[in-house]
Symmetry: C2
Subunit: 430 residues, 2 copies
């Protein structure tokens, strides 16, 4: 099916600010609370949010096989379950409705009143109910940096790393949308040189710059998804901040992996940008040596050229960009991750989320975590307000942004913005 | 609130076979498909399943604050969300309805026709939608056995083990109810002495004898649950078989923990036995030395005396009991596990499941996995059909059972029974 919606020459009758992440070629999907306190599924063009539930009720999706309530839901899970063919029909139709030459909605003031919202009058929600969240560890630069710091610079990568897109299960219940503040976690850490742990707030709270993809559900329990078909199961992507408490992690992670050091929160950007919208930005993936086992060999191996940046905003409101990275650096592709995840028959459901792992580039200014940027705290980062950071401080806001661009179009993810609050205080009795 | 339902002297007008796991003092909760292909929430007495949705519609739960459709659902999540007070009101009422001296339902043939099913005409379903599944590692005997085999017998326990109820996230989407067959997983393993992995079916498929508890949702993101309040958040327990592929596990698990070696399937018994029903079987927990950090110190530290057994049934139909263990051996209590899980502010939801970790007792015949029972394959187990097992073979059925008993009453979990099928075969084209 041709994806008309990607046509770079198409223009829209809605205003789109210069350098917007959301031209008519994007058409992401999200869930929002309207000014009338109703939750609906929508999309975004420029600074307008569009109520797809209302559009559907008004008949704009005629002849597309959709249930009546598909967009009148709290989450996108059922829509994602409808599959790639339906996603494309809907995205193409939205593109037609808002085409500059289509006057149907453009000239219907009554309909526009119902369908259109200004971004500042709505509240973005989690776009999916995440059944299972998996985090990979697929940036060679990140794995090498961590291995160099914590183990042996000459053998920084574990023996399995070049053979397996290493991953592990994370916590779904603490995935929150951009704008939700989180608390500095408390827990056990082992002070240097001691044998007995102490309790208290983590002193080493860090972000991890990641992206995550969201899947649909088509394999049965026990059946693998082949690597060459894997992208058909991927609905789209979001920015992902995999919050981490390094001191808790170090003490707890042997032998079963990170747990409380990660599961206090993960923050995502609220608009899911479809894999379809990203097609113009395909680029070759880094060469793999050694060649992986056959079930991980893709006929065409490609990634996406997505520029990423991380900023820290301090309480005075000033923001400092501290990293510029790119999704294209990932050693393992999303298709390889999904093929690996299901090779044992693991069932994948609609709305499942899979994180890339920290996306570090080849140069120190492209590292995807404070751990790497400040090299374990040995090289503090200067911020615009004059202060320094080794890790994230209370009341700092971490902002991640991402976009693709070429000569014709810019497709972006908006941002994921999260404030770190001080630790929870137990109320004293009496 | 007094739990009348636990009164050991109460008798029921329904037939209850001798040594049944489901006397009127049990009253577990589950979800089943009726003879009319309708999914409903129910309980069980003897060999009768009881349709709680129908009972509620007929007015039997009058004066208990329940929504009309609370039992007309696919899962128990919403009922569990209603909280401990409601669970107790409902369980006490069920106990009254089926009391031998209560003639209301007993003498109403029309109602009985709607409400009662024979166990052999229904099909048990997953009782909850599991949002997040966590697996702990809380048997000291099991952790010591594994550490002895894979690391150093003199330092079998990791330095954190006595301080932390070590746990990690598992996969929710592959939790299946008793009776669902699973497939031998395929994946990467590293042959002994080699440096390059190979692909194929796991050769070392194992069970893990565990129990799991199911939570309700009352803490907010960022707020811990205190250890002394933790049990109020626990609805009940099931038997849990944490299927494992030892060869895949060994190659993949460093540094982020087990992943594909575990997430191909976990099997549970379908009736959730409430924590309330288990109260008569409280026993002291093993002493802890060193004393854990204050947030893990319980005023009253107790476990539950639950007898567990594992059997293997072969294709000729014969079954061999290969292990007898007990839940009371667990070093860390469920309350400690839940307090630890939330100390960093991690949000717990209704229907979340937390596994105990393999429950090994102190003697070789009480070990909870083939890995330990056959001591890495060095001591094969003899089965009644004359064959031997180091690990689980294709078409073997693994059965776990559990019950509590004292002089007055026996409360059981029924069983979790799972057949291991041969690996998935990719269909050849043409």
């Amino acid at each position: 099916m041709p994806i008309h919606a990607n046509d770079p020459s198409r223009q829209t009758w809605l205003p789109v600010p210069e350098h917007s992440d959301f031209p008519i070629q994007n058409i992401p999907f999200g869930v929002f609370l309207t000014r009338d306190d109703i939750i609906t599924i929508g999309t975004r063009i420029g600074d307008h949010a569009i109520d797809l539930g209302a559009l559907h009720q008004l008949g704009y999706f005629e002849n597309i096989p959709l249930t009546d309530d598909i967009f009148l839901q709290d989450t996108l899970n059922d829509f994602i379950s409808d599959g790639q063919k339906t996603w494309r029909l809907v995205r193409n139709r939205i593109s037609e409705i808002f085409d500059i030459n289509n006057e149907t909605l453009k000239n219907n003031e009554a309909h526009k009143k119902i369908v259109l919202f200004s971004m500042d009058e709505i509240e973005m929600q989690l776009p999916v109910q995440v059944g299972d969240y998996t985090d990979f560890y697929s940036s060679k630069e990140h794995a090498t940096n961590v291995g160099t710091m914590f183990r042996d610079p000459d053998n920084a990568l574990m023996p399995n790393w070049l053979h397996i897109p290493v991953g592990y299960h994370g916590r779904s219940s603490t995935i929150v949308p951009s704008g939700t503040p989180i608390r500095r976690p408390q827990g056990q850490t082992l002070p240097k040189g001691e044998e007995t742990p102490v309790f208290g707030p983590s002193r080493l709270v860090d972000f991890e710059l990641e992206m995550a993809f969201i899947t649909t559900d088509t394999n049965a329990l026990g059946e693998p998804v082949s690597v060459d078909e894997a992208e058909e199961y991927i609905f789209g992507m979001v920015l992902f901040n995999d919050w981490s408490a390094r001191d808790i992690q170090k003490w707890e992670y042997v032998p079963l992996g990170p747990f409380l050091s990660k599961n206090f929160a993960s923050s995502i950007s609220p608009w899911i940008v479809t894999l379809d919208a990203l097609q113009p930005f395909r680029v070759e993936s880094p060469k793999q040596n050694p060649e992986p086992l056959p079930y991980l060999q893709q006929k065409e191996r490609y990634s996406y050229d997505i520029n990423l940046e991380v900023g820290i905003a301090t309480e005075d409101g000033s923001e400092t960009t501290i990293s510029n990275s790119n999704f294209k650096y990932m050693y393992w592709t999303m298709a390889q991750q999904l093929a690996h995840h299901t090779i044992n028959g693991c069932k994948v459901n609609s709305g499942d989320m899979m994180g890339s792992g920290t996306i570090s580039g080849p140069t120190p200014d492209s590292y995807g975590s404070m751990l790497e940027l400040s090299w374990q705290g040995t090289k503090p980062i200067k911020l615009n307000d004059g202060s320094e950071r080794k890790f994230i401080q209370d009341n700092d806001t971490v902002i991640m942004r991402g976009h693709c661009s070429n000569n014709e179009v810019r497709i972006g993810f908006g941002e994921v913005r999260t404030k770190l609050l001080p630790p929870f205080e137990t109320k004293k009795k009496g």
